[in-house]
């Protein structure tokens, strides 16, 4: 298998940055999942789509808008009416899903190359993200597993909370480098580490 090139590669600098002397506020990383897949179901077929996702990945999506689930490096979440993102560390999940999601249920679109997954975690994760997105990141408003579709100016993002102070952000690959730089810039204030 040929390894995929990350759009972040030339600007991805591991180590501590910014004002880290008093501690590190956030850790930034690129998670590079093998599969990022969009499942869209026709109206009324959501339950069957959810069942198919469970069958293929073992992830049990909750009902309801923006609900999601995390299991290790696997995750799934709803981001739009009838639409879900499924993430898995292994490649080829799109093909497996395409078998389970028949045309009567909906469609499957492979976005594994097209989206870049960036993780931000740490005590200041909410603070740093709040510099970008007009989303309430408080745990009460945005529980673990849940996801939001939103934008920072021109950069469209899907954000899933994958831990108490951890968020995975999916951005368009072409914008990823710009976004990464901006994220680092914003995190300088709290000190950050690139894993």
């Amino acid at each position: 298998m040929v390894e995929r090139l990350s759009p972040l590669e030339p600007v991805y600098r591991s180590g501590s940055h910014g004002r880290f002397e008093d501690g590190v506020g956030v850790i930034l990383s690129e998670t590079r999942p093998g599969s990022i897949v969009q499942v869209a179901s026709w109206p009324g077929e959501e339950a069957r789509a959810i069942a198919a996702i469970r069958k293929v990945t073992g992830l049990g999506l909750p009902d309801g808008a923006g609900g999601g689930v995390v299991d290790g490096e696997k995750a799934a979440f709803g981001f739009a009416p009838g639409k879900f993102t499924v993430v898995d560390e292994t490649e080829g999940v799109a093909a497996a899903l395409a078998k389970a999601i028949t045309p009567t249920i909906g469609t499957v679109t492979d976005l594994s190359h097209g989206r870049t997954a960036i993780r931000i975690e740490g005590p200041e994760a909410e603070w740093v993200l709040a510099k970008f997105f007009a989303i309430d990141f408080a745990l009460t408003a945005f529980p673990v597993g849940a996801a939001r579709s939103t934008t920072h100016h021109d950069v469209f993002a899907q954000i899933q909370r994958t831990g108490g102070d951890r968020f995975d952000i999916y951005v368009f690959r072409s914008f990823a480098r710009s976004f990464w730089k901006a994220l680092g810039h914003a995190a300088e204030e709290v000190g950050f580490e690139v894993a």
């Binding site: 109206p43 808008a65 009838g82 579709s149 939103t150």
Partner: protein
């Protein structure tokens, strides 16, 4: 200004794209009535008060919503999916692949 997307919840207006007058009726595709087409394409309700309009949550879930918003105060009294309850209705659907 905030708009409440039925799917995503209240979001800043900057996440939405305005698609204008929601009362416009698209004539049947084959219709030759130029007057009807002209009204649909060019004429707009432009009331002072509650306005029925369509917005897209383009910076979020990307679905379209029908909004009733007061053009004097900007207060929003209703916001529902433009597709109606289509997404929750299991019956009454056409056969896959059938032509409209």
């Amino acid at each position: 200004m905030l708009l409440t997307c039925p799917y995503c919840g209240p979001r800043d207006v900057s996440e939405f794209t305005y698609q204008g007058d929601g009362n416009r009726q698209r004539p049947a595709p084959e219709a030759q009535d130029l007057q009807a087409w002209n009204e649909y394409v060019y004429d707009r309700h432009n009331p002072a008060g509650d306005h029925n309009e369509v917005w897209q949550h383009s910076g979020g879930c990307r679905s379209h919503i029908r909004v009733t918003r007061n053009t004097m105060t900007h207060s929003v009294s209703s916001a529902v999916p433009a597709r109606g309850d289509v997404h929750h209705r299991a019956t009454e659907r056409r056969k896959p692949g059938a032509k409209a």
